[in-house]
Symmetry: C2
Subunit: 195 residues, 2 copies
């Protein structure tokens, strides 16, 4: 039971994640989630269209932060600097204090191919929204698409380092490190080992 | 009718693409594809598991070329150089002479969300296979994942430039150009326009 959870949305999310972990995503019903949260199914549907939405509603908040940050980034930044700063800001605004939750959520997604597809679609939409924001700031094609796709690659890799790491680093730290590695990699640093 | 097509697989592919274009992907049956190709349904299923596979069987060939090229890349290349060279080689080996086909295929995919999901999954698998190949060549983490993801971003953007462009450039040209732009972008070239 999640009696301490301050709000209905958060209680439903926590209850869903517990049940997905205990019984698997497929076997968990909306009725069971609502019951665990001490709320009604009707309340559940006030916040989420279905049980899948519990896992993905955050993508909208993430997109809003990223687009807003690029829309208002200082004009002395390059495209990739604006994207990296936006991702790091999202790390601070959305993911601080959510390390445990993010790891449990990822385990649910990793166990279910349909959810992995949904995750890929959300990330593709995020890249498209970021590219549109960059174009509004005067970045041309194909630079806008490449900066956006590179940013999403940085985010994915950083997210993995963050949730599978020990939890002593913030997501923002992981994002800044991942962006540095990408710059070194695309700049041609390092040689292959002989095959 | 595609009487000139030299082989059953190619005839079925051409017939499928014609019918997807004429009647839409959803409304086209395997029976209609086989009939248009002058072959039996049984022959169709010798080459393809279902009609969706007609659109995606090439992903396997693409992955094989990319992984083979990275496996055998010269050891004086950097990770991103090896990936870019592998993508350009795939452009030459797989896509030369396929500009018209690739454009028709893309139009079918763009019209169907389920096919777009499938395309995203194939690209994600491609990135994972490329990253594994880079790790076999001694590239560490997270550089291997980032070089692979960056390569797939280059491929996606280049593919779009190629099929929506006039057809006077090869896919390999577009890939090399796209890789140059990514290097400039991640290196911080260009400033945003004031918001």
């Amino acid at each position: 039971m999640a009696r301490w959870a301050p709000d209905a949305r958060g209680r439903l999310e926590l209850a869903a994640m517990e049940l997905f972990g205990e019984h698997g995503y497929e076997s968990t019903t909306v009725a069971a989630i609502a019951e665990r949260a001490g709320l009604t199914e009707r309340t559940f549907f006030r916040y989420y269209a279905d049980k899948r939405e519990v896992l993905f509603w955050g993508a909208r908040a993430l997109q809003d932060v990223l687009v807003d940050r690029v829309d208002h980034a200082p004009a002395d930044l390059s495209a990739i600097e604006a994207v990296t700063a936006a991702l790091a800001a999202a790390g601070d605004e959305i993911f601080v204090g959510r390390h445990g939750y993010a790891g449990r959520r990822q385990a649910v997604i990793d166990a279910n191919p349909e959810l992995q597809e949904r995750e890929l679609i959300k990330l593709a939409r995020l890249a498209a929204a970021l590219a549109d924001a960059l174009r509004r700031r005067g970045v041309g094609d194909p630079a806008a698409d490449l900066a956006a796709e590179a940013g999403i690659a940085v985010f994915r890799v950083a997210f993995g380092s963050w949730i599978y790491g020990g939890g002593d680093r913030t997501l923002s730290d992981c994002i800044l490190e991942s962006a540095d590695v990408l710059r070194d990699v695309t700049g041609g640093r390092g040689r292959l080992r002989p095959d």
